[in-house]
Amino acid sequence: MAKQSIVPFGPQHPVLPEPVHLDLVLEDETVVKAVPSIGFVHRGLEKLVELKDFKQYVYIAERVCGICSFGHGLGYCQCVEDIMGVEAPRRAAYLRTIWMEMSRVHSHLLWLGLLADALGFESLFMQSWRLREKILDMFDLTTGGRIIFSVNCIGGVLKDMDSGMLVQISRTVDEIERELRPVADTFLRDVTVGSRLNGLGVLSAEDAKGMGAVGPMLRASGVPYDSRLTGYAAYGDLSVEPITATAGDSMARCEVRIREIYQSFRLIREAIAKIPQGDIAVPVKGNPNGESFMRIEQPRGEAIYYVKANGTKFLDRFRLRTPTTSNIPPMLDLLRGCQLADVALLILTIDPCISCTER
């Protein structure tokens, strides 16, 4: 047996902006085991429900993560609405769906950029993020923020989109779709990109299910599961089809995300075409009492929200299980047997968000 050595990886690493720490047990250049430790960006946000009332907490929930911020606000609001027996108006549900899909485009483009950066393909990275800016501009236009939107509230949304904004969004979506084509083509067909991603980190469908992978990671292994199918917000009215691939390798995960961007464009257009007129929020009286559980499909995978209320304005408990938490066990499995040079790339293909995970 070759001599084993332990190489610490992270929490600060040139490839990954996320503060994940792994102890890699190596035999020569091959990883035989990866031991994770997390907790570098723990902020105690779940505990804050005891200090901030349930309406203030919407603004804290969306600050769990900078990329999934809209979804976290939405998941939390849906839980509290469920407890209080309030239903957001249809227009609010559609607006939430549009914002949610815009978040997905923004998250996946961000991920594509990070992947290109990890491959050392700087101009591809710049092109991906250039496209992402266009979506961020649309967020800025409609919500007043690029990353933190503060538009969700218990009972609906705080800001409406007028028809001019909706037209502008669909025009931007058309533009990004056009400009994404050569970028997507590079990711999926370029020989150099393919030589790094093809066959790297294959996760079988059984392993993906058995270890609880979620989101694009699960779907890239061929499991057609997408929690948007549960029909929260306005997804019930739209045609959502889980995007799957069969190979289960890094290229498949990349492909699923790229196809999901196109799917989001379609969903945004469909929602804009179908959006009804009406109110955007219903008034909410009293305090919540009871508990609720929600799952929503964040760009990185399924996130689970749990709220327990006691009839006062302070909640008993808020619990959030983020997609990265469930994707860490399969990731460790993928790392076993890979080459040291591929470690960063493999970690990246799960699209980790450590700040979500540690809250």
């Binding site: 901030k52 309406k55 203030q56 907490y57 603004y59 804290i60 600050r63 101009s123 591809l124 092109q127 250039r130 800016e133 800025d140 236009l141 409609t142 919500t143 007043g144 923020g145 933190i148 503060s150 509230c153 705080l158 800001k159 050569p182 970028v183 083509d185 590079t186 999926l188 067909r189 370029d190 020989v191 393919g194 093809n198 290229m251």
Partner: protein, 144 residues
């Protein structure tokens, strides 16, 4: 993948070489903000009734309202531009307007004092931590 290409990116890269930059040449050109941009909170202090609802709704606790002195104080460093106070205010005298406040090296607060009403003149306000602003809704650069 069915077919592999050697230079799928070449066209984009060449085009990029001869196109204008996508970024704005700030500070030589002004930054353009949309109308809804959440830059900073302003108050129309004449309309404020010192009810304190804004301070109670503020998640980071950036606001202080003194009913007796008729002052409204914001800690610009603590404010996260969430807009909770704007929605809570019954008199609609708060607003979030585009444009950031000037960056600063130390924490400071801004205090606004309600001008005395001609009929019922309240007691003279106590001297606050920061100098009182005579023009409450002034632009951030001047308000600092």
């Amino acid at each position: 993948m069915d077919q592999w290409k050697f230079t799928p990116f070449l066209h984009t890269a060449l085009k990029n070489l001869f196109s204008r930059p996508d970024t704005v040449a700030y500070p030589f050109k002004p930054a353009v903000y949309p109308d809804r941009m959440r830059g900073h909170v302003v108050i129309q202090i004449e309309d404020c009734i010192s009810c304190g609802l804004c301070a109670r709704s503020c998640p980071p606790g950036a606001l202080r309202v003194d009913r007796a002195a008729g002052t409204w104080t914001i800690s610009r460093f603590d404010c996260v531009q969430c807009g909770s106070c704007v929605n809570a205010c019954p008199k609609k005298c708060l607003a979030i307007v585009p444009g950031y406040t000037t960056p600063d090296g130390e924490k400071h607060t801004e205090t606004f004092t309600r001008p005395p009403k001609p009929d019922a003149a309240p007691a003279q306000p106590k001297p606050a931590a920061a100098p009182a602003q005579p023009k409450p809704a002034a632009a951030p650069e001047q308000a600092q």
